[in-house]
Symmetry: C2
Subunit: 221 residues, 2 copies
């Protein structure tokens, strides 16, 4: 299984790259719009893993090249870059599953608001931008990147997997379950993505108002 | 502390009445639009508690009479009855804190959608309907009524408390914490209510798609 993390130089990309490299034997490629930036970050991840006695190759390259040949392509970019990132790699996607972890949010006086794009969710936006027939799955929205990126931390949280293709959901759920302490739960078809994505601003608001709670995750039980 | 549960003959009203009666010494009044129905249900609750060796008086009466003299008035009615229920008891509210546990939802092919009223949330709708200066708090949205109402079950879940008055949030959080196994978390000002209420359809969708998960609750950790 080969995973490309587009925008893998950012917070959630880093978190997923390190965790998959630590807990699984999946091939990991870090993508960025700038090849050199991707290479530098990939080296940083390798060094971080080496410092923990884990020998791992992680490649870093430009997004389209990272996507080429990957089984799963994660759009680890901000919501407003999802559409252009998908378009930039569209020719390389082949049969790859596209994974969307981004959430649209705004801030007002009270806190963070869930603000989906017009099509209903960022996951739907990714699906709209992708070539016809591309399997698109929303996942990893509600993970604290900081909590995962520090490999000293236990993960201990759930993530929700949403999308119209049940097989693709299963594959992405397996990827998530490969990370120790992370449990994937099935949230059903793509139409359920707004409520899944809406959990992220809630977590940030709750963390803000309760002492001692930060990098908050969630368990369904 | 005297709590009136308007619409206390319904699922969430029953759940909260039984749990508060079991775990606390708060005065509990069950309200309904029909006095007789409230009386009958209150007697049922008393009988249920007696069967567990708990001697408790629970009054049942018409909503406005139930609200009169209560410190906290819970609007345990469906979202579409929140405004008219508030209006029906407005003259009796005095300094009472109004608590809104209702959520607006619709169903489509994918699952349940969060569908707030035009003012942004059901909690905001309750605040709009209430007399000026009434302290309104959203809470108990995400609890499974069935899970709570069966007193054999452990509660083991979190609930979120949202509203513009911090003291009122604290009071309602204390009421929640009075129920064994329930933990209240502060979700901040009223403007954060949409994301709080939106958790309920998510829980229902997740329960539907994962075997063995029903009456689902959530823990923030």
């Amino acid at each position: 299984m080969d995973i490309a993390l587009l925008g893998g130089t950012g917070d959630i990309g880093q978190a997923l790259a390190l965790r998959w490299a630590l807990h699984t034997d999946y091939g990991i490629v870090v993508g960025s719009r700038e090849r050199e930036r991707a290479r530098t970050k990939a080296e940083e991840y390798v060094t971080e893993l080496e410092s923990r006695g884990v020998e791992r190759e992680i490649e870093g390259t430009e997004n389209a090249e990272a996507a080429a040949g990957a089984d799963v392509v994660v759009l680890a970019v901000p919501a407003y870059h999802v559409a252009d990132t998908v378009e930039a790699v569209a020719d390389e996607l082949d049969d790859a599953i596209l994974v969307s972890p981004a959430v649209g949010m705004t801030k007002d006086d009270a806190g963070l608001r869930y603000k989906p794009p017009g099509v209903g969710s960022v996951t739907a936006l990714a699906a709209d931008a992708a070539p016809d027939g591309t399997r698109v799955v929303g996942a990893f929205h509600n993970l604290s990147a900081d909590r995962l990126a520090n490999l000293d931390n236990d993960v201990d949280q759930d993530t929700l997997v949403v999308g119209d293709d049940p097989d693709a959901r299963d594959i992405v759920a397996d990827l998530a379950d490969g990370i120790e302490g992370l449990r994937a739960l099935d949230a059903g078809p793509l139409g359920n993505a707004p409520e899944v994505e809406g959990l992220t601003p809630l977590l940030i608001n709750v963390a803000r108002h309760n002492e001692g709670m930060h990098d908050l995750g969630v368990r369904f039980e």
